[in-house]
Symmetry: C2
Subunit: 363 residues, 2 copies
């Protein structure tokens, strides 16, 4: 039996005030999610670009530790447009983002409606966060929430770690997976004495297609014992997969939602650097699920032959990047799973489904 | 004063017997080096390709754990040739190597002449070593020699760790830096209680050019606290640098040789996936030197404004990949440094120079 999925649009860019008057919010998406006391806390990626348009120029925002957002104005004839989010500078061949991202905290009692936004913001701080902080995933371990997030800069897209107990103040633990690495999700408990993470290291390898790896750590900060976990195989996920929601314990194994993209299947032209730029979303992104062995999570017990849910509604089909469902957070409420996701790289939404239905769909 | 460098060609492909009758040795290069009792031990990368030529086909070797080397014969119309070492399969867009590499042990009393080859070989074993093991670097810590080497497979080019006390038997410690990551060198002692490595993670990032990073570890197996160390800046190194020899302690700081390539400087066309294929050697590679602060090795005290030595001799200028000097090993003998390197991706050579001259050249 295939799970029935109820979707609710939660946050749109127009719901959020820009950081500055000269910026406009273009995305409120890819949220981390956690249950804290009686509230669901969402750590939402806020993408902003310049409001000002100058004829013949493109304004590229970036963060400087001392000055906040600064803007590099580049003449349009220096630029190759890769997509609305990404340009390549013809002079040096390097890629820049047309927006910059930071994270904000939203709180919801029912898990479907934002009741309030907190003042505290998670802003770029380090040289490896110059182009923004993106796509947080949250895992509660003990009384601490650990946040793995993407740090983008001229040094590449890496994954860094932060932690918090209250989502009001954050401690930073530095880069845990060096570039290129995204889609890092942490397991909520130690297995065999070690912390475990899924990660997606090889966006741009010429030897293969993007795939999920698994790694282990004594302390959440230092990672090793890397090994490949799974690549794309079914039609819906094509040849591109990456971690989505942090794994949750079930009686049948560690359950995690992940994303797959079907656009590149079998097409040589999809390989190479263009595809690897930022999230590289060139086609439909859907959400699947997988089950990993409880005692040896490097063993895949089951995975989706079909997507659990893909882009269907208007807010998933239309937006900054069309046809994207990108799961990033999960909260359990009795038998119901609330899967938080980015829709069309624009909005935050929640998909509700029965946990037992999802497990039944996984063989 | 610039150091005078004396170069000796040590090992050529014709000096080495192939692993099997149907293979031919095309490279004996990029050696790790260590002093063990009264001998210099070299761990040499042996690259082999198929002897057999079939009209209209290309034979691509790879390792299978149970069968050793197996060959995939692909029709030539399925293939785009990137260079003599690398093809791209038109069907799936993926890259394969035309050769496969393993490691062999050579021993030398004077550090310039190979006296004997050992029987023991370091062969691919894991799924992430399917296309070969390459470019070992050796660091002695206590009575153990740690070997960081590149593991290449359909999963990408990662760096794995092995150790030995005698170069007769080896212990493997798995992948320590996931794809894409090469040019990992370990420091010979803990600093501030932690092991330290230089690594080169971002070969294929679209945001920047390949640069060296630094990371720390409690146990040599798990790595974190990654941060960018240095990118190419001077003309000789263009916009591509990577670690070379493991750092050695001097009174002025940690001294390490590294490589830089000058070919891509300022050229947009050099970016993207073609350049990142395998070592991506598209132009002249030279050896520079850097000094890192003894107590805080993330601080660059000094670095080469000019290359210490570049491709000059016939064996450095001509070979499988012309114009390459690629330092990978170092042994100290009183005031003399013996820097072992790959020449033209074909031969192993040693460059001898005075340690005090090198330090004097570094400001």
């Amino acid at each position: 039996m295939f799970p029935s999925v109820s979707r609710t649009l939660m946050i749109r860019p127009e719901d959020v005030k820009p950081s500055r008057d000269d910026l406009t919010v273009v995305g409120t998406f890819n949220p981390g999610a956690a249950q804290l006391e009686d509230e669901v806390v969402l750590l939402v990626r806020i993408a902003e670009r310049l409001r000002e348009q100058r004829d013949g120029y493109c304004g590229l925002p970036r963060w400087e530790p001392e000055h906040g957002i600064v803007v590099d104005w580049i003449t349009e004839n220096e630029i190759d447009w890769i997509d609305p989010r990404v340009i390549r500078n013809k002079k040096d061949g390097l890629v820049r983002l047309t927006f910059t991202s930071h994270l904000r905290v939203a709180r919801s009692k029912d898990g479907r409606t934002v009741d309030r936004w907190c003042e505290e913001r998670f802003l770029p701080e380090s040289e490896w966060e110059e182009y923004g902080v993106e796509d947080p995933r949250i895992t509660q371990i003990g009384d601490t929430f650990y946040i793995s997030y993407v740090a983008v800069s001229r040094h590449g897209a890496a994954t860094a770690l932060a932690s918090t107990k209250d989502f009001e103040s954050f401690v930073r633990h530095g880069v845990i997976f060096c570039p290129e690495n995204k889609d890092v999700v942490l397991f909520p408990e130690r297995i065999d004495g070690q912390y475990v993470a899924l990660h997606r290291p090889n966006t741009a390898t010429p030897f293969g297609t993007p795939e999920m790896w698994i790694a282990r750590s004594p302390d959440l900060v230092h990672w090793g014992s890397h090994s490949p976990l799974l690549g794309g195989s079914s039609a819906w996920e094509g040849d591109r997969v990456g971690g989505g929601t942090p794994p949750i314990r079930t009686e049948r194994g560690w359950l995690a939602f992940y994303h797959g993209s079907a656009s590149c299947h079998g097409s040589a032209s999809c390989h190479g650097s263009e595809r690897s730029v930022t999230a590289g979303k060139v086609g439909a992104y859907s959400a699947g699920a997988l089950l990993l062995d409880l005692t040896d999570p490097s063993r895949v017990v089951h995975r989706s032959r079909q997507a659990i849910f893909g882009p269907e509604t208007d807010f998933e089909r239309n937006g900054f990047v069309p046809n994207v469902v990108f799961p990033t957070g999960i909260v359990e409420r009795d038998d119901m799973l609330h899967v938080y996701y980015g829709a069309a790289d624009t909005c935050t939404a929640v998909a509700e489904m029965s946990r037992s239905d999802v497990l039944a769909a996984l063989g």
